[in-house]
């Protein structure tokens, strides 16, 4: 399978340029160029296109050297069965290093063909010229490459010393060529690795351990206690649950079922060890064991610094950051004995193949890694991990398996771009020159072994130490006394290279420090650099960029004129990215001038403009270089301004884009790219260079604007504010404190045994006493069973009317289990007294109400007595149903009896003593139940009375919306004044409403009819199915309910005034409240604003306005917490759209931050909620529905 000719021999002949393959390739050879008799050219390169456009650039190089048109060249990248092994695609090496043999191969092929043509045409080589593969000479003599090759199979051995074209002769290289991949990408025709489908492919998901993002330590691979396979028994099409060490995967026929299985699988793990506190990176990195490696030691550094007139020790800190691929990694594997194929988005196909061979204990030659494009990775992401996952699952099930990592898994487990600590000791001499420069850097990162190797125990979880902290560790300045030491150290959490590796942090320190020196010396920072910069191309670049940006010398910082809260500044930084093994190679030179605007009140930093200059040597595809510079500027600005991975003491906590924000369109700077014309110089890598000066240029600009030096990234509003306050010698301004919060509603259902023992005992005793009396007076008896009545007993009209009434009464809402048969019961209803299971009310004779006569039914509805004489619990709201008219009860009975009978036993209730004693309910009824039918109020309109009948009767609104006493009875004194149900607050329907805008009849009508009121929000939680059921009722009944409920409210405000108030509230809460939680603000912006920001672009579904939402204005945060945790999967209507559940993407602390932020931001007049985190914890662990 190492012979690339094998599958392509359909054409008669070919010319290949090859070299013998390295070890493991079974004596075959590697092909670089292949030209077939039809004149088409295929170029093979071991690197891969990570979205940077190298496929296009390599095609240009080959076309140029071969003298064929660009369109004739197909570039094959990264398939281990056909491309040469050229190592991993890292460090901007492709153009500088990997392209060299390809270019030589193309040139060699040209020389060979021209020589052949000279013979064939009987002309001297010098007299021939080539046009797109056609070799021509005088007398119209010509022959094409294809004709020369004809039926022959020609192989030429690749040479290292091949004469290649002079740059002056270039016609294709150096010209901007459109990317070849974009038309297919823009139309959905390109097959990314995510899009691979092979016959009989299954779908897998993995379940990762709780030590998320940590890959070293004895617990890695040894923490799994048990996997409960029975917990996923009900998943349709589940094929396998696979467990090897700490590796767990599920495989299903359909992807959504693999997703469900992974979420539902019950797994127990050992406790996760404690991590160092990564909120304090400096301490954590200093404590991490390290080995010093001196990179340069020139002059007597210690003496020079000791003699400095002004010593300036400084420390700079870089945070953990994410690669943040937009597409979580994905792979497909097809494991067969002796032939394993994987489709992968890997950066390093050959290295991955070796990993897979180790994992599977199979020889490399049996494994074919086919590299397809994936989402940009910018370094080592989870592409290799997921490939190994897929292989393990495919081997387990014997069929091809596709594994897609989730967003949460990619965020948590991708090998992070590591935090880094840079210390500079140095200072100024009296004349303002640099006394000495003693630089130390700590980079706790390695190559991040492929995860499955660690989880399965194939590789010991002992962290390797990589020597990669040295990239651009030596500053570009020619200081007389300089020492640079890289403290090589193992990772603390899983970490590996990320664009620029250690160069951006090192440069952040170098370029901030020299700015600090210039400030202290009273010299313009660019002029100061030029005193020490000896590299001529660097000097040219610095001068060119300064000129382009219109840099004005600033030897002394001047306080800028403030524009309101905004101050502006400008900063410079320069870097030569040095990559690969020390001392490495220089890639393109890069220099930045950044303009920033800093809001001194909010702390927001905006990078408004960047002049990015670059000397890239020969630019193969200048447009491609420009796009790379744009990409680097934008991504590195994002890294500097906002990117920082959050951890708790066990794992990574940032698992979605709210917790790890990246730059968005409104924050993208204007970019002016300056590309130095150096087409006569060798080409240099351009994939990373422009990222390197970023952080320092921005920090220097912030200093210019504010006079405050920031030595730690990212430049978040809270860090800037803290710095500004510190600089001004002012203690942090106290946040305006909200008035103390009133105690949470005492009407909440609480477990009466938790704290109200005395009251409950009294009440229970009272019930017992009353029951004694009641049983004597009213001995409840069984009503004889009947044969199930035939549906034809009733008219269609009666049944139809009964159907409406059943909808009004929400029978099916409580009496149907999720996804179960309608009204067949079994749904668990959580009450403070225990769990009550709703009964089967289908007309099944044995398990339902099929044997119930109408009198038995009526007695249950009016008195709460089962047909057999048992008391029913008032979770069944007979206290309301009693108000129903006889005619309506008969219609309801008719409807229920006319439905299909479903046999379903109801599970036994699990109630605590004494509530498990049904006879006590007699006493309860005597105390709290009035069984009289509805009595209209003659002083009110007919519509009001109709509404009252619906609301107070079958509608049983008070069952949730009225507070209850210790025995679970609605408090008559606080009718509809707000209650709790199933972990949700049922808000007050009276003038006690928390809504910022009073409810009106029209808004109530809209809410009950459609599930949404523009001025209040959408129905969610237990209210959504209620409104959904109300769809069966005619408009006039909904109107009547609205009229009746409105009569409880102060309805003084007219419609225009309500909407005007709404607009005012939205406007006033549109600007960020400075004191609100910055973490919460970012979570909102990343997770919520897309659907909730006022004035945002329309998306499918409604756009509920948080400023107006009653739940944000309530006394308790419960509904807000519930909806964030669980989302809205079943809205009243699909027109309202859906809300995702965030419970698996945010932890309790994050949701608490978000909830606190939302309250402060959108209900600024209301007191802050207390105990939010505990409430989140409670809500998360309630019985999920």
């Amino acid at each position: 399978m190492t012979d690339p000719d094998a599958p392509m021999d359909v054409l008669p002949g070919s010319l290949s340029v090859v070299r013998p393959a390295g070890s493991g390739a079974n004596g075959g050879f590697e092909t670089f160029i292949k030209i077939t008799a039809d004149g088409s050219v295929t170029a093979f390169n071991g690197h891969v296109d990570l979205g940077t456009g190298i496929r296009t650039a390599l095609g240009q190089i080959v076309a140029e050297e071969l003298d064929v048109s660009f369109a004739r060249v197909v570039v094959v990248l990264g398939d281990t069965s056909v491309v040469p092994d050229q190592g991993a695609t890292i460090a901007s090496e492709t153009i500088q290093i990997t392209a060299v043999p390809l270019r030589n191969a193309a040139a060699q092929a040209r020389h060979f063909l021209v020589a052949q043509a000279a013979q064939r045409l009987e002309l001297a080589v010098e007299d021939l010229f080539i046009e797109d593969g056609l070799i021509r000479g005088r007398d119209n003599r010509s022959v094409s490459y294809g004709e020369l090759i004809s039926g022959e199979t020609i192989r030429i051995d690749l040479k290292d010393d091949v004469p290649v074209k002079a740059v002056s002769a270039y016609g294709i290289v150096g010209q901007s060529v459109p990317r070849t991949d974009l038309p297919a990408k823009a139309t959905g025709e390109l097959v990314y690795v995510h899009d691979v489908r092979v016959p009989s492919m299954l779908h897998g998901r993995v379940v990762r351990p709780p030590y998320a993002g940590v890959d070293a330590g004895a617990f890695v691979g040894t923490s799994l206690i048990a996997v409960d396979k029975a917990s996923v028994r009900d998943i349709p099409g589940l094929v396998a649950v696979v467990r090897i060490g700490d590796f767990i995967g599920v495989v299903a026929e359909r992807e959504e079922n693999a997703v469900k299985a992974a979420a539902q699988l019950k797994v127990s793990w050992k406790p996760t060890p404690t991590l160092p506190d990564l909120k304090d990176i400096e301490t954590a990195l200093r404590a991490n064991p390290s080995t010093p490696r001196t990179l340069i030691d020139k002059g007597n550094v210690d003496a020079a610094i000791a003699a400095a007139a002004k010593p300036m020790p400084r420390t700079y800190i870089w945070p953990y950051q994410m690669h943040g691929s937009i597409g979580p990694s994905c792979a497909v594997a097809d494991y067969r004995e002796g032939a394993v194929r994987v489709w992968s988005g890997t950066q390093n196909p050959h290295i991955l193949r070796a990993d897979l061979a180790l994992l599977l204990q199979r020889p490399e030659r049996e494994i074919d890694v086919i590299r397809l494009e994936a989402a940009g990775c910018y370094g080592r992401n989870c592409a290799d991990d997921v490939t190994a996952d897929a292989v393990l699952l495919s081997r387990a099930v014997g069929r091809p398996v596709r594994v897609q990592l989730t967003r949460e898994q990619e965020h948590a487990w991708e090998p992070k771009g590591t935090a880094q600590l840079m210390e500079v000791n140095g200072g100024l001499n009296a004349d303002g020159s640099v006394a000495g420069y003693d630089f130390a850097t700590r980079y706790p990162s390695n190559g991040a072994p492929t995860l499955a190797l660690l989880l399965t125990g194939a590789v010991a979880p002992v962290p390797a130490v990589f020597e990669m902290g040295d990239r651009t560790a030596i500053p570009p300045y020619d200081y007389d006394a300089i020492r640079v030491v890289a403290h090589d150290m193992p990772p603390i959490v899983r970490a590996s290279w990320f664009r620029g590796v250690s160069a951006p942090p090192n440069t952040f320190a170098h370029e901030s420090y020299i700015d600090e020196l210039a400030t202290e010396a009273g010299v313009d920072p660019i002029e100061y650099r030029l005193r020490y910069l000896k590299d001529e191309r660097a000097v040219d670049l610095v001068n060119a960029v300064a000129e382009r940006a219109g840099w004005t010398p600033r030897p002394v910082r001047k306080e800028p004129a403030a524009e309101g809260d905004i101050v502006r500044g400008r900063g410079f930084a320069y870097a030569l990215y040095v990559h690969s093994k020390f001392p490495g190679y220089g890639a393109a030179w890069s220099a930045w001038i950044a303009d920033v605007a800093v809001n001194k009140t909010t702390g927001d930093v905006s990078v408004t403009r960047v002049v990015a200059g670059q000397d890239s040597g020969l630019m193969i595809n200048p447009d491609g270089v420009r796009h790379q510079i744009h990409g680097n500027v934008i991504q590195s600005t994002s890294r500097a301004l906002m990117e920082e991975v959050s951890f708790d003491r066990h794992a990574v906590t940032a698992r979605e884009w709210g917790a790890y924000p990246i730059i968005k369109f409104p924050d993208v700077p204007r970019i002016d790219v300056l590309m130095l014309p150096r087409q006569d110089q060798p080409p240099l890598g351009v994939g990373e260079s422009a990222s390197v000066p970023s952080a320092a240029a921005i920090a220097n600009a912030i200093f210019d604007a504010t006079g405050v030096r920031f030595r730690e990234l990212p430049f978040t509003p809270e860090r800037i504010l803290a710095g500004l306050r510190g600089a001004q010698g002012v203690a942090p301004a106290p946040m305006p404190l909200a008035p103390p919060q009133p105690p949470a509603s005492t009407d909440r259902w609480k477990n009466p045994f938790a704290g109200r023992r005395g009251a409950v005992a009294t009440a229970a005793a009272l019930c017992v006493a009353v029951v004694g009396v009641a049983s004597a007076v009213l001995p409840w008896r069984s009503i004889a069973p009947i044969a199930r009545p035939d549906a034809s007993t009733w008219s269609a009209a009666t049944i139809a009317r009964g159907q409406q009434l059943a909808a009004l009464g929400d029978c099916a809402v409580c009496h149907t289990v999720a996804n179960g048969a309608i009204n067949a019961g079994g749904r668990a209803i959580e009450t403070p007294f225990g769990i009550i299971y709703a009964t089967n009310i289908t007309p099944d004779v044995e398990t339902g109400i099929g044997a119930w006569s109408y009198p038995a039914f009526e007695r249950a509805m009016r008195e709460g007595i089962h047909r057999d004489g048992r008391h029913l619990y008032p979770a069944f709201p007979y206290t309301h149903f009693a108000k129903t008219s006889d005619a309506d009860l008969q219609a309801l009975y008719a409807f229920l009896m006319a439905q299909p009978a479903v046999r379903a036993e109801t599970p036994a209730n699990t109630l605590a003593f004494p509530f498990n004693l049904r006879p006590l309910m007699a006493g309860w009824n005597a105390l709290f139940h009035q069984s009289g039918a509805f009595q209209p109020d003659a002083s009110q309109s007919a519509t009001w009375n109709r509404g009252a009948y619906l609301v107070e009767g079958l509608g049983h609104c008070g069952a949730c919306h009225s507070p209850r006493n210790a025995l679970g009875a609605e408090k008559a004194s606080a009718h509809l004044a707000g209650g709790f149900a199933e972990g949700w607050e049922a808000p007050p329907l009276t003038s006690l409403s928390h809504a910022p805008i009073p409810w009106s009849e029209d808004e109530l009508y809209a809410y009950l009819r459609t599930g949404e009121s523009r001025l209040h929000g959408v129905a969610a939680g237990p209210m959504a199915p209620v409104v959904k059921a109300l769809a069966a009722l005619p408009d006039q009944d909904i109107r009547a309910m609205a009229v009746y409920l409105t009569s409880f409210n102060d309805a003084a405000m007219d419609e225009p005034a309500r909407h005007a108030l709404g607009a005012r509230l939205e406007k006033s809460t549109g600007a960020r409240v400075v004191s609100a939680s910055p973490v919460g603000a970012r979570l909102y912006e990343g997770a919520c604003a897309v659907c909730h920001a006022v004035g945002g672009a329309p998306l499918f579904g409604s756009r509920p306005s948080l400023a107006l939402n009653s739940n944000l204005h309530s006394a308790v945060p419960d509904n807000l917490i519930q909806v964030i945790l669980h989302g809205i999967a079943a809205p009243v209507s699909s027109d309202l759209g859906y809300m995702p559940a965030f419970k698996d993407s945010m932890n309790d602390a994050q949701i608490a931050e978000l909830v606190t932020y939302l309250r402060r931001q959108f209900a600024p007049g209301k007191p802050v909620w207390t105990g939010v985190r505990a409430a989140v914890h409670l809500a998360r662990h309630r019985i999920s529905r």
Binding site: R179, L182, L190, Y192, P236, E256, H630, L1099, F1100, G1101
Partner: protein, 161 residues
């Protein structure tokens, strides 16, 4: 979840899908209909990689169950146009070379299309707002903005013809 056939109209064609009603539209588009345009990015509606048009409005297919799509008109990137016959928005993105890895491109094009559906002559601020919640990690924002602005102009031209 009880399984029943759900009828979807995608890119003008009717499909009867045998999947649970709560299945995310994205999985059905990708796996049952083998459409590659919409991509899985976050599963939370945050990033926009999965965008499709539902009744002409941008929608995040990763958070919308198929039961909510019955009777609606769904259009994916493939439904806009092809390499041979691209939609003007697709053409504008190709002309401006508006992608690096291209994974977010689907969402960018769909969001631009949705914007132009409702605002044929958007301002630059309109375009920024329309793309605000579409994440791009490669930093192709400048080219994407240019493409969206070009598409706006292009469509104006087409309408005038």
């Amino acid at each position: 979840m009880t399984q029943s056939t759900i009828r979807l109209t995608v890119n003008g064609r009717i499909h009867d899908i045998d999947a649970a009603a709560d299945t995310a539209l994205l999985y059905v588009l990708r796996n049952d209909l083998e459409l590659n345009g919409p991509k899985y990015g976050c599963g939370l509606g945050e990033c926009g990689a999965c965008a499709v048009l539902i009744d002409g409005v941008a929608a995040r297919a990763c958070v919308i169950p198929i039961e909510g799509c019955v009777g609606r008109d769904i259009v994916t990137l493939e439904g806009l146009g092809s390499r041979c016959n691209p939609d003007p928005v697709q053409q504008a993105f190709i002309a401006e070379q508006a992608a690096q890895c291209g994974y977010c491109l689907n969402g960018m094009i769909i969001s631009t299309k949705a914007l132009l559906n409702r605002t044929p002559h958007p301002s630059e601020a309109d375009v920024i707002e329309a793309l605000r919640f579409n994440l791009c990690r490669c930093g192709a924002h400048i080219e994407i903005m240019r493409a969206a602005m070009r598409a706006a102009g292009h469509l104006v031209g087409a309408a005038n013809r």
